[in-house]
Symmetry: C2
Subunit: 438 residues, 2 copies
Amino acid sequence: MMKMTYKGLAKKLLEKFKVGIWDDVQVCLDDGSIISAIILPGPETDRYIYLKLRNGYNVAYAVTRIKSIKKLGSISPKYTLPKMKVEKKKNLPPIALIHCGGTIASRVEYATGAVAPAFSPEELSHAIPEIFEIANISFVELFNIFSENMRPHHWIEIAKRTAREFENGAKGVIITHGTDTMHFTSAALAFMLENLPGSVVLTGAMRSSDRPASDAATNIIASIRFAFSADIGESVIVMHGTPSDTLFYVHRGVRCIKLHSSRRDAFKSIGIGPLAVIDEGGCRVLAERYLKRRAQNELRVHPFFEEKTALLFLYPGIQPETIDFLVDRGFRGIVLAGTGLGHAPEYIMGSIERAIDEGVIVVMTTQCLWGGVFMNVYENGRKLLKLGVIPAHTMLPHVAYVKLGWLLGQDIPNNEVRRLFMENLRLEFVEKEPISAF
Amino acid sequence: MMKMTYKGLAKKLLEKFKVGIWDDVQVCLDDGSIISAIILPGPETDRYIYLKLRNGYNVAYAVTRIKSIKKLGSISPKYTLPKMKVEKKKNLPPIALIHCGGTIASRVEYATGAVAPAFSPEELSHAIPEIFEIANISFVELFNIFSENMRPHHWIEIAKRTAREFENGAKGVIITHGTDTMHFTSAALAFMLENLPGSVVLTGAMRSSDRPASDAATNIIASIRFAFSADIGESVIVMHGTPSDTLFYVHRGVRCIKLHSSRRDAFKSIGIGPLAVIDEGGCRVLAERYLKRRAQNELRVHPFFEEKTALLFLYPGIQPETIDFLVDRGFRGIVLAGTGLGHAPEYIMGSIERAIDEGVIVVMTTQCLWGGVFMNVYENGRKLLKLGVIPAHTMLPHVAYVKLGWLLGQDIPNNEVRRLFMENLRLEFVEKEPISAF
């Protein structure tokens, strides 16, 4: 529960102007500018006042810069926000927003300064009321967890719930999700949901939604604009395309990865350009090839995952026993992230051979990320192929992991798993990498 | 051993003009152009003639395009190449070239079409005689293995041999090495060799040296030009900077990675720009901060590595038993490549805690590659810090692995290992990532 956390000079300033947290105010600064905002609970501080601006952004101003504060009104403290009554507008598209957690809905714990999951979708919608101007949005609170804690069984729940929203008539489904493992979930949803009648858009924020310069609001707005405007029926990720606030990229869910731990444009499409771009000019599809929306009754859900699937990065010095251990533990599939064109150290080949002999499906990807595996070029790759290792083409290591676990989770024989693994089911393969895509 | 492999039309054409493999010839093409080259043994073919051009490149021309061939002379077949007698020139800098293998010295096995390690450094120098115009080069054949088979004990041998070459007066040491794990070796040499009196330059090729468009020759020449021109004393990687042949980047050995499995510009500096650029205009240092050459007698060699060190990529669904297994096997160090700012799934924290309780040093890096770990931001990171996980700052996962194994290999107590791990010993940390470096 939030409480008043200002002290010292900051507290005195608020008392002087008879205002407090959650008050709607006009703040006059030392340069003469006037800001309309809501006073937020700050971290325990005597030097700054935290404000939520009308555009959804939060800022902090030093006490010394504030000349006066005028109270306009007050909103209820966030933890008792009333349900927002939004009237459905006839001409707006129906969009479902499934909330799964992450920074997009987290807040700073003022006691520790760390970010913890907290805001409800209700609060989120209060923060970005403009979304109700562009779509009829229905909210679903599925979980509220950080994405590092997502597990395959969560992917299955999200897939099922997403399908239900489409069946209920949604034109698109937005999933708010932590960014850490968002690219795993986007791949899982791509495989689990076949013939999508609209796009499944994962989005999140690299800055939490009650911090200054949060990207939560802008990412959600861009996601909604994409979800109903394009004729694409794919699982995608929509996030900032540049460090600025004016351009967003739509990444194919099976072809992207989080490549930066803090920048707002952390996600990159790998081996292909972005699927679409969203900016002030609207939403433009850039890809020549994509999966089109299908009729609603064509949607198929395949909510399966074999948890006895592993992803293993290879490196000089890796112990072959790591593979033996997985075999001994009854694993059914191992995705290797090898080096270069799909190579493994000679000295672990005995363990790979044993794994395959015991019926484990072993797949090779490249930790280079770009370029894919081509195991016929070098002696090493040819030896691995001879052992029965399956080359994952241009599939990214994490996508191959998700795909293999998904196939093994279905009740089909191993040779069928192998056949389907090599098929380009959701455009997870890149046929020809454009020079500009690296 | 190579043998004449042309047949059919190709064989007839060669017979018609009384030429054969290893002949130095002038070839007249159907467009009137004339090419000076050496006839190479081709794969068993009746449609193409394979030629080595004067610039070191190999090309193949269709038999139908060749109007005439004129013999100029002949070189001995490569497998009996005589030792090249190169006179030392007084004004040229002494450079050592340590050969370790990889594509830069491999050839196509015509029986299978696969590439196998084959060419000797002797043969390599015959292929690029221009290197003797710019340096006095001494050759060392240390190994001839593909880099996927490199192990920490190889790094130690390379470090020791490199030190010896500097002690013998080399101004710089070039190491020809497979590209797959080159960035591991460059990091290992950075830590093992302190106060370098010149640069240690790892270079290789993305196309084997007897294939058309090989980058072997151009990379070696660029490496040598860098090695004696800059006042940098670091372990670096020199490879193509763009897909073209005119620009080469020098990457800091502890700050780069192979990010493409096939392009010639596969290596990228991460979180910083390239250290230097080499083009027709010469060699220009771009970095503001770098390690300068030191006096020869300051060089220190630390040839150590603890093989009970592991690198573990985390992902949704990873089994905590993977960590238990490493602890049970007596591992002393585990580098986690976590998600985002340095996070791990909650459900594996028990295993991490146990590892630390049993004296294992556990380090956190980010699989995002760019941006580094900042474990104070989220609840999850703070929990891990509380357990005793060491945040690896901006260190790349593979660099943290090499550094931790190197520290653990030395006879120093664990708290000293922890202290040194957190120190920026070889500029492996990035203080401030430029916007353009992502």
